[in-house]
């Protein structure tokens, strides 16, 4: 059986790929790992909801789950932080280097050409 983290990933991938909210049973059917207990799927869906990655609505006796934001939105969030563009300039990450603005980029480009000759 896969680890819980791996399972969270697969379930998010399934929900991102689907259009519209799904029940735990529907999600379970799409998971490659057939030996998975239905309660495990429910547990992971619940965890993801608590972490804020899923939202859920009642549908009869079951819950229907849906991603809180698209995958692209999360990728963008990561990249904004990675490129130090969130504005708070926190010490959360250690970046290799950042892109520079117009005239400075020209100086760097020239230096790069020189170095590569």
């Amino acid at each position: 059986m896969k680890g819980l983290g791996e399972l969270e990933r697969s379930i998010m991938d399934i929900l991102w790929a689907e259009r519209g909210p799904m029940t735990a049973r529907e999600v379970g059917r799409l998971i490659a790992d057939r030996d998975l207990a239905p309660t495990t799927v429910m547990t992971v869906l619940d965890r993801l909801t608590r972490k804020g990655f899923l939202t859920r609505v009642r549908d009869g006796r079951a819950w229907r789950y849906e991603p809180a934001a698209s995958r692209d939105a999360y990728v963008a969030e990561l990249m904004l932080e990675a490129l130090e563009m969130t504005g708070d300039r926190s010490a959360a990450l250690q970046r290799f280097a950042q892109a520079v603005s117009g005239s400075e980029a020209e100086i760097l480009r020239r230096a790069l050409t020189e170095l590569e000759e």
């Binding site: 983290g5 969270e8 990933r9 998010m12 972490k51 990655f53 995958r71 999360y74 990728v75 963008a76 969030e77 990561l78 990249m79 932080e81 990675a82 490129l83 130090e84 563009m85 504005g87 300039r89 926190s90 010490a91 959360a92 990450l93 250690q94 970046r95 290799f96 280097a97 950042q98 892109a99 520079v100 603005s101 400075e104 980029a105 100086i107 760097l108 480009r109 230096a111 790069l112 170095l115 590569e116």
Partner: protein
């Protein structure tokens, strides 16, 4: 009066020293020693400025700062004239603001990292070409490490396309150096100090200087394992890869200068500061760091 006056002088010396050090360039020839000096200046400035106020306030009791505080705390005594009461209040306030902001900055950083780590777990993938490195599918150029007990090195798909294999190795060696030396912990107090004194140019410059020195220290460590020239071209390629339309004010004005400074260090390395000079800097830093706590204990 001696302790209060000495502590006040020490705080002034630290502030002046920090101001001078922001403009210094010799630090680039010994980044590690310079980082240590910066840390001791920061700690000593904090302890000396609060200590000067407290030492003045507690002088009538003749017990020094540490024992004086314990004394008034235990016996519920207070100084009798207003100037000393004012100094006591100011000293305690400054001390608690400095320590609380440090804790708050640490907590904020930890929570930002926790969120980042959660997102990475859901989104980043492994790439056989770069084992142990997390890859985020985005065309922009980014390479960074997420520090912590289990640090992660992350690159974007754009980075994998942008760099040659040798350059990528160099970048990863640089990031691994950050991870290994826990540079995030070095930078944290300086980032926190910017919250307390956002208008101070010296504090701003001090943070920028330390940030640059940390990059240089990581460059130095990386170049032991990879070609310095490849690290330099990787830096330049990163600098010119404007993948995003940059929001106004998001980038520091000196970003380009910093990149060039690092590149020049890599391709035209100047000799490292001689060992005895570096030793003197380290010894000086240690003595400086020890001086403020000693003065806190001095009875008068």
């Amino acid at each position: 009066m001696i302790a209060a006056a000495t502590l006040a002088a020490l705080a002034t010396v630290c502030a002046l020293g920090a101001w001078r050090l922001t403009a210094a360039r010799w630090t680039w020839r010994a980044p590690r020693a310079a980082i240590l000096l910066w840390q001791s200046l920061g700690v000593t400035w904090g302890l000396a400025s609060t200590g000067a106020l407290l030492a003045y306030a507690l002088e009538p009791f003749g017990r020094g700062v540490v024992h004086g505080l314990a004394y008034i705390g235990l016996h519920l005594r207070e100084p009798h004239d207003f100037l000393r009461i004012g100094a006591l209040m100011a000293g305690l306030a400054l001390f608690s603001v400095l320590s609380m902001v440090l804790v708050a900055a640490g907590a904020q950083t930890l929570s930002a990292r926790r969120r980042h780590r959660l997102l990475l777990a859901l989104i980043a993938r492994d790439e056989p070409r770069v084992p142990g490195v997390r890859v985020v599918d985005h065309p922009g150029a980014a390479a960074y490490c997420l520090p912590g007990l289990r640090s992660q090195v992350v690159v974007s798909a754009g980075t994998l396309r942008l760099l040659s294999p040798d350059e990528l190795t160099a970048v990863l060696a640089h990031e691994t150096a950050h991870v290994r030396e826990r540079h995030d912990l070095v930078l944290l107090p300086f980032a926190a100090l910017r919250w307390v004194l956002p208008w101070s140019k010296t504090v701003h410059d001090a943070h920028a200087s330390v940030a640059l020195l940390i990059e240089m220290a990581a460059d130095d460590r990386a170049r032991r394992q990879c070609s310095p020239k490849r690290l330099a071209t990787a830096l330049l390629r990163f600098g010119t890869a404007a993948a995003f339309a940059t929001p106004h004010g998001a980038l520091g004005a000196s970003t380009g200068e910093n990149v060039m400074a690092r590149v020049n260090r890599l391709v035209k390395p100047r000799a490292e500061l001689p060992a005895h000079v570096r030793f003197a800097i380290v010894a000086g830093s240690v003595i400086l760091t020890a001086s403020a706590p000693m003065l806190w204990l001095l009875p008068n």
